[in-house]
Amino acid sequence: MTLFRTRKPMPFVFMMVSLLYFIYVISLGSSTMIGDEIGGDPGGRLLPLALSIFMFIASTVLFLTDRKGEAAKDERLGSSERRLFLLTVIVAILYVVAMRPVGFLLTTATLVFTLTFYYLQGNVERKSLKPWVVGILATLAFLVALYSIGRTITRFLLLNARQGRIPQWLGTTGFVVGIVLVVVLAIYLIVLKLTRARFHAEQVSPAIRNAFDACMLSVVTTELIYLVFRQMFLVELVRGLITW
């Protein structure tokens, strides 16, 4: 046990990984080139086997030689850093898992809002739960409103250009993206201008101010990503709960 206390864990992890890799490759069986009746092909198992053996040797050498230094104690995360780190990991996992059922817009805005809000707060505390809930609701409402306006303009232009009611060039991708960008950004900037002074006033608590900043950042980021990847590059972003 003393050996494990003075050694770093990573080489041991790699020893286990290479051991499992070795067992896996052995169980896989070798496959040779199609048409290798006369022989000569070393097969698909040789290199993975050699690699697993080399990885085991290298990780064993590191396990024996790479010891924990005095600096290891200093490298431990502080309480607030650890909480923020864990929050980031959990939110990132939830983002991947929830993307399909909930959809791109809602999950993206939630991820950006949550991380920005708590990073600005500097810690994850129970007392900041209320501003987080209010902030996330405001963010999603504002985002859905902007998205709906952009979607209405897009549909109007595409449909009417296709049916010949308006000139064809008004329905081109470049024009549609441009016009939606201008309208959405104009509305966003007006809302920002009208509300910023109120939320940045001296009497407003830092948590509310941070929630406001996180809200505005997450809305504009999500909307811009949507415009570039969905409308410009036609990437199929999952709709999820927003079906219109």
Binding site: G39, L47, F85, T108, L111
Partner: protein, 505 residues
Amino acid sequence: MDVFLQGFSQIANVSTIIWMAIGSVVGIILGALPGLSATMGIALMMPISFQLPTATGIGLLLAVYCGAVSGASIPAILLGIPGNPNAIATVEDGLLMTQKGKAGSALGGAVVASFIGGIGSLLALVLFSPLIARLTLAFGPAEKTTLALVGLVIIASVSGNNIWKGLLMGAFGMALAFLGTDPFSNQLRIPFSKFLATTPLSKGLDLTSTLIGLFGISQVFFELRKPLLVGQHIEPVKIENIFPPLRKILSMWKIILSSLGIGTVVGAIPGTGASIAVFMAHNSAKNITMNSKGKLDQVGSGSLEGVFAPEVANNAVTGGALIPALALGIPGDAATAVLIGALMIKGVTPGFHLFATNMSLVYAIFITMLLANIFMASFQLFGVRLYPKILSVPQQILLPLILILSFIGAYAIAGQATAVGIYNLGIALVMGMIGYFLKRDGYPIAPIVLGLILGGMFEENFRRAVKLAGGDYLTFFTKPICLLFMALSILSIVLPIIAKKRGKR
């Protein structure tokens, strides 16, 4: 001439110009922000480049590359903190010049130097890469096997402070490259194949998602280890006299030429990179100024010479690193490894085949490299008063943006296939976590990328060479080029060990 015009026509459009301009600005910003590297910038922009025509996409990535290498000088000069390791040697004289009230000259000088370095190394790229590519005509499968080996071993042996860590990471990268299907028999080589055979993982790990995870997501986790920076406070500095006098530049011709040579040659050696070149150029400039009989200002005293040398060298590395990347498919550094990955995703395999069959694309790449340097210099000079403000962007805002851009990048590469996109998100997240733990324990990431990129080339050529030799493994010891490459591999392992032991004494 026709082929050149064909290449020119691939990039002579508004879309290329706009995307390269955006890439240049993004690169400068990423380079200026401490902790964010050129490699990460290229990895983040890969999904966008994937959506564009090949030449435009590569132009975008080259613009990010050149911009990020040059942009790192901004915090180095104003704050004494290099944006990334490429600007480490710029700190000494750059910061002293700022303290003397010459921040404008230092920032402007750094841009001019970067431009000279970029254009000079581009000339070397244009002259030498076709010649080196032609040499590879003499390469059969055995030679290509040992070439992949030497590329992998060199970068593994010089990355990080422990040769075993580098080699282990290279092997780990190769093991990841072997996941998927056997290239010759199509047999599945993934664990839990009963469950994973019908998933996108049956084709192996998606390269873009893996790179985004290793360089983008892992960096976000890594930055969370310390208290987040609220944004750098910059004392108001006068930024004037941006353009260094032409006479001053001409008087530094020896420094420029030596730094250009060092940057290009060091860049062309796989695994070395700009952080080595800038110190060599800085030392060389020190010797030149000491022997100049007072004609040049001493390096280390807050002189333009001390800014010029490393800045010429680090941008010369960009062209140098592209020589083996384009001609041999062996990247000069982690950033060019990601660039090769971007080419491969587009179905373009670097090497002689590229020069023989798609020379118009090679010309297009050369021209975009020229444009990337012009954009970098123009945007950095015009925005010289603006970019310092970037340093005040707090990490609290920056990190969520990097994380979401990493995720969307991994997802978008799948295009219309949403299920593949979700798998890519998972791959990026898992690789980000692995990358974080490896970085935390001092394991270099670059060899993993090399292993991923060269693993396939190594296996295919190894099996083909042995098969052609009738199952004789000694075939690698009967060919002079193979012996040369193997000797280089052994030397690249032995020399750093000897150098380390000598250093200890």
